[in-house]
């Protein structure tokens, strides 16, 4: 390998690292992306784990990918095609069900069947949530200010933020405060009475957290689902043709087109520093690569505690990173199926199989699932969010066959006694048992099963403690506190080292915002 100096080396070819690389390259920087695995995409990958079956192994839906990124990087031209997931189907133990459809009137009729009051409230609720989503959108699109800094630029940002909030008026501000601080259960109790509706909505507030629906701080995540824009439409979930990995591939293709060099199977062992500045990286192979800037897409613990020595960073910063909470709480089960599931509540192959299927019959069900995890066990009856990508994109599985992606919560990283093969399979069995209560034919239709525990996610995808968001999305780990006070602006105490992963504002999900905001910050300081 020749000794070439790069303008920027990106550690980790996850979707945020790739977005970051593409933006830097677009501005004229000479960029290299280094990925440890043979596949690009980090947690957003599609892999053929069983011959003929394409699994979106970890991340499985697209809801938050920023439209400006799709536009700026011309991702459509690079093969990105997002197909809408059109419904959320919640089967119930009494063989009833609840479906929310893309079609508003259809959803309304369905809700009316359960509760006329809820059908009325649903519209009002949606209106308020859209308004609140609009209100927080600018915040998600900005690098957080530092309330502790007196720099003029920062004060101006604070003032702008203050004006923005004042402009919302008292009703919306109060609603926003409630949303930010309440539990999703309490918040939804103010609006609805149908258990399945509340639970299925609350479930979106707990995804990826180590909290239950009654834990304060879970309500605001409800909002994320109203921010997920696809083609400008609020609240639609999407699925990429070719699986989630296709998102990463499209971004990688865009980055390459802009001149980025990408190397896979290139595991970074250390970030090299000299006189308090990052100067490059050393690979596990011993190779050293020099660069003017280093950008890490890894989670904060890996970056600062794994790739640097503590004495290269200020002690209070190291303390902050050490106490940054990462407790992974979810697992993933991917299935290759010989046939589609038949839900006893809604038999047959219907449009409900083209959307999300949510095992979340009641708030209490979710809360009890959390109780198990609190004390170090996986849920005996877990919450599951299921999609069948092959329903929307038949190329994911052989003709007539299907792939099913099951997100499972709760599965604590710190399982009593630790994870091993036996516990992994027991966890997989629990998931199948739970699913078969609603769709009994699944058990015999399984051709192949892949079970990922939080420990597996740590090992495979480099997610510390298996946390899919690179750090819990709890109130004290958001915005200007993500990942550490005074270092939420994508910079780090080590000059020329930046961070661009989900551990930075605005956090996890396949949204690309951290990668883009980090690039903006970098380009402000390092114009080529």
């Amino acid at each position: 390998m020749k000794c070439k100096d790069y303008d920027a080396v990106i550690v980790g070819g996850g979707h945020n690292g790739l977005v970051n690389a593409a933006y830097l390259a677009r501005a004229g920087l000479d960029v290299l992306v280094l990925e440890r695995r043979p596949v690009l995409g980090g947690a957003a990958v599609t892999e053929e784990i069983h011959p003929g079956f394409q699994y979106s192994v970890c991340s499985y839906v697209v809801s938050l990918l920023r439209p400006e990124i799709i536009q700026d990087l011309e991702l459509a031209r690079h093969g990105l095609e997002i197909l809408p997931l059109e419904s959320t189907f919640t089967p119930l133990p009494n063989d009833d069900y609840l479906v929310r459809w893309a079609d508003h009137d259809q959803t309304r009729r369905e809700l009316y069947r359960h509760s006329p009051r809820d059908a009325e409230a649903y519209d009002e609720f949606g209106k308020l949530m859209v308004q609140l989503a609009m209100a927080v959108k600018p915040i998600l699109g900005m690098a957080p200010p530092d309330p502790g800094s007196m720099r003029p630029g920062n004060l101006a940002k604070m003032a702008r933020l203050g004006r923005h909030f004042r402009g919302l008026g008292s009703e919306k501000l109060a609603a926003l405060v409630k949303l930010m601080t309440m539990s999703s259960a309490d918040y939804l109790d103010e609006w609805f009475e149908t258990e399945a509706l509340k639970a299925t909505m609350a479930a979106s507030g707990i995804i990826g957290t180590f909290l239950g629906p009654r834990s304060p701080g879970t309500a605001y995540v409800l909002l994320h689902h109203y921010i997920g824009e696809i083609d400008g439409a609020f609240r639609a979930w999407g699925f990429a043709r070719g699986g989630t990995g296709a998102v990463s591939e499209a971004i990688a293709s865009a980055a390459r087109g802009l001149g980025t060099e990408i190397r896979t199977e290139a595991s970074v062992e250390r970030i090299l520093s000299k006189d308090g500045r990052a100067v490059g990286v050393a690979l596990e192979s011993g190779e050293e690569i020099r660069a003017r800037l280093v950008v890490s897409g890894l989670d904060p613990k890996r970056t600062f505690l794994g790739l640097l020595e503590p004495d290269e960073l200020p002690p209070e910063f190291v303390d902050s990173i050490r106490r940054f909470r990462m407790r992974g709480s979810s697992g993933k089960v991917n299935l290759a199926l010989a046939e589609l599931p038949h839900f006893t509540a809604l038999p047959g192959v219907g449009p409900h199989l083209r959307g999300a299927m949510s095992i979340s019959p009641s708030v209490e069900y979710l809360e009890r699932a959390y109780d198990d995890a609190k004390y170090g066990e996986f849920s005996r009856r877990p919450y599951m969010d299921i999609v069948i990508p092959s329903m929307i994109d038949p190329s994911m599985a052989p003709p007539g066959k299907h792939v099913m992606s099951i997100f499972v919560q709760y599965a604590p990283y710190a399982l009593n006694g630790g994870w091993d093969d036996e516990r992994r399979e027991a966890f997989g069995d629990t998931v199948i048992d739970t699913l078969c209560r609603y769709a009994p034919n699944v058990r015999d239709a399984i051709i192949h099963r892949q079970v990922l525990t939080p420990a597996d996610m740590e090992e495979t995808f480099g997610l510390t403690e298996g946390n899919i968001f690179h750090g819990e999305l709890s109130l004290h780990q958001l915005f200007f506190l993500r990942p550490a006070p005074a270092w939420a602006n994508y910079r780090t105490p080590l000059a020329n080292l930046y961070q661009c992963g989900s551990g930075t504002h605005p956090g996890g999900g396949v949204c690309g915002a951290p990668g883009r905001l980090a690039a903006q910050q970098i380009l402000k300081e390092h114009r080529p």
């Binding site: 004042r166 008292s170 309490d186 009654r214 909470r325 809360e367 609190k374």
Partner: protein, 530 residues
């Protein structure tokens, strides 16, 4: 209409009395109306069994406002606050205990027995939390600003609090903002490893809340129990002669300033004309005219029970109905033939002079909450016990003792049905059973037992839902959100109707700060009117 006052106070709880005293001192003609035969609301001392006097609801002070004590000269009316050397004793399963003393050195020694690392961190914990604790003190004393700040005064409040934050220095400032929305569990995870210490501290974060220690916002309540001074924990404060002495002293000060107090009168309605308060109507039909009415009753009772529904905007009513008042506690009062023998305290009665807190670990609390969140009484409840007769012989016959037990969690709404005599007694049995594990033989020393379920607390003290703080002290129900944004400045949408109870900022606990702040706002509005 026979009489007319400048101000009528509905409810003679401690906040109502504080407010009345300040208004009377400012020269207003003031009438306080109390439904019960005694003043004091939830801060009363009652002889439940002959010779045994109990603090039947609140049994300790919660950061009593020093301005009130000083301004009203409460010492002159008989108030004597006791701060025992021992703040909290936490008995542990197996006979050991953890004792938190006012002396930080002694406490550190005691903690060292459980964890040397925690003992080292104890003073550092205080130092790290002190800026936040001080800041919260300033916040409590201020009237919350309107959202968004409308008047220049609101901006000023914001700026003053902002300046206080600024003056802290960058690290302290971000630390305050970081800690406030945390859960007690998260905060304690960062600091301490020994379960007895974590359990004892976490209990401070959930007291009065229908939440467990893993709920965001419980760190905020935990901070409320800390002192920025060397002693780390706020000293336990008891009132000599019982809590009733405090409210009697407040009543004395109010009357001396010219306020009139009537007990045994039930206010049925707050009268309004042209969207403005004109007075109150009593249950016997008597009408009392008033230029303004200040309600010490909780916000739900005030707006849903006392104000004409037609006076209120339906949207406002919806918000009031949404105030969460899920009672989480019960009280048990025991007349004891002898001092209970808590394991390891034989011959050391001074260990029992402060609070005795049964909360041996964080998970103990969490499990206690688990039972309650599905509508059951905790199988192993968190208990906070005081035995005031130990240092105050007037409270029990010689050699015998009056023990007050605060019990959490006992939900107001039970899964299995409503509270009744049978469930009340089984709650009592469960509490005695729990105590027996730490103080063997206590069941045999019980002469009499009195149990107040959350439903009883609602009936007797008028606490909606049995919620002592008139609205849960959860993050979304604090400061400018308390009790609802429209009333956070103690004013209400009904002209000349004010609130002064625990349902307003800064909330529950026997502090008197809400009453003080409310009086300030009433008088300010009066000045503007002139």
């Amino acid at each position: 209409m026979s009489e007319r006052y400048d101000a009528v106070l509905v409810g003679a709880g401690h906040n109502g009395l504080v407010c009345a005293a300040y208004l009377a001192r400012a020269g207003l003609s003031v009438l306080v109306l109390e439904r019960r035969e005694m003043v004091g609301g939830a801060a009363v001392t009652e002889e439940l069994f002959p010779g045994f006097r109990f603090d039947s609801c609140a049994h300790r002070l919660g950061h009593l406002d020093r301005r009130v004590v000083r301004d009203l000269g409460l010492a002159g009316y008989g108030l004597q606050v006791r701060r025992p050397d021992l703040a909290v004793l936490a008995p542990l399963p197996g006979g050991d205990h953890l004792a938190i003393w006012r002396d930080p050195e002694v406490t550190a020694e005691e903690i060292r027995r459980h964890s040397p690392d925690d003992a080292l961190r104890w003073p550092r914990f205080r130092a790290a939390m002190a800026p936040a604790v001080r800041f919260l003190g300033h916040v409590a004393a201020a009237t919350p600003p309107e959202l968004p700040p409308a008047a220049s005064r609101d901006l000023l409040t914001f700026m003053q609090l902002g300046l206080r934050l600024r003056r802290m220095g960058r690290r302290e400032l971000t630390e305050v903002l970081r800690v406030l929305p945390m859960s007690a569990a998260e905060l304690l995870d960062e600091w301490f490893e020994s379960e007895p210490l974590r359990g004892l501290l976490a209990a401070m974060g959930v007291t009065g809340l229908f939440m467990g220690p893993r709920a965001a916002g419980t760190a905020y309540l935990l901070l409320g129990g800390l002192s920025p001074e060397a002693e780390v924990l706020r000293p336990t404060e008891l009132v000599a002669g019982g809590m009733g002495r405090l409210t009697e002293a407040l009543a004395g000060a109010a009357v001396a300033s010219g306020a009139r107090i009537r007990t045994g009168v039930d206010v049925e309605r707050i009268r309004t004309r042209d969207a403005k308060v004109t007075g109150v109507v009593l249950s016997d039909g008597e009408e009392v005219g008033a230029a303004r009415v200040v309600s010490n009753v909780d916000p739900k009772r005030t707006f849903l029970g006392l104000v004409e529904p037609t006076e209120l905007d339906p949207e406002f009513v919806r918000k009031v109905k949404n105030i969460r008042t899920r009672g989480a506690f019960a009280k048990v009062h025991l007349a004891l033939a002898e001092l209970p023998r808590f394991d390891g305290t034989a011959g050391r009665p001074e260990l029992l002079e402060g609070l005795i807190r049964i909360s041996p670990s964080l998970d103990y609390l969490e499990r206690a909450y688990d039972d309650a969140k599905y509508g059951g009484v905790s199988r192993s409840p968190y208990l906070e016990v005081v035995i005031p007769s130990l240092t105050d012989p007037t409270l029990a016959p010689p050699g015998q003792h009056a023990m007050s037990v605060y019990v959490q969690y006992a939900p107001y709404e039970l899964e299995e049905g409503s509270w009744n005599d049978h469930r009340r007694e089984s709650l009592g049995d469960r509490v005695v059973g729990t105590l027996s594990a730490y103080a063997p033989g206590i069941d045999e020393a019980i002469l009499d037992r009195h149990v107040l379920t959350p439903a009883d607390l609602e009936d007797v003290y008028g606490l909606t839902g049995g919620c002592a703080s008139h609205g849960e002290m959860a993050l979304d129900q604090l400061f400018f959100m308390r009790p609802v944004p429209e009333c956070a400045q103690y004013r209400t949408p009904v002209r000349d109707l004010y609130l002064c109870g625990a349902g307003t900022h800064p909330g529950g606990g026997v502090s008197g700060t809400a009453g003080y702040n409310a009086a300030r706002e009433v008088l300010r509005a009066g000045k503007r009117a002139e």
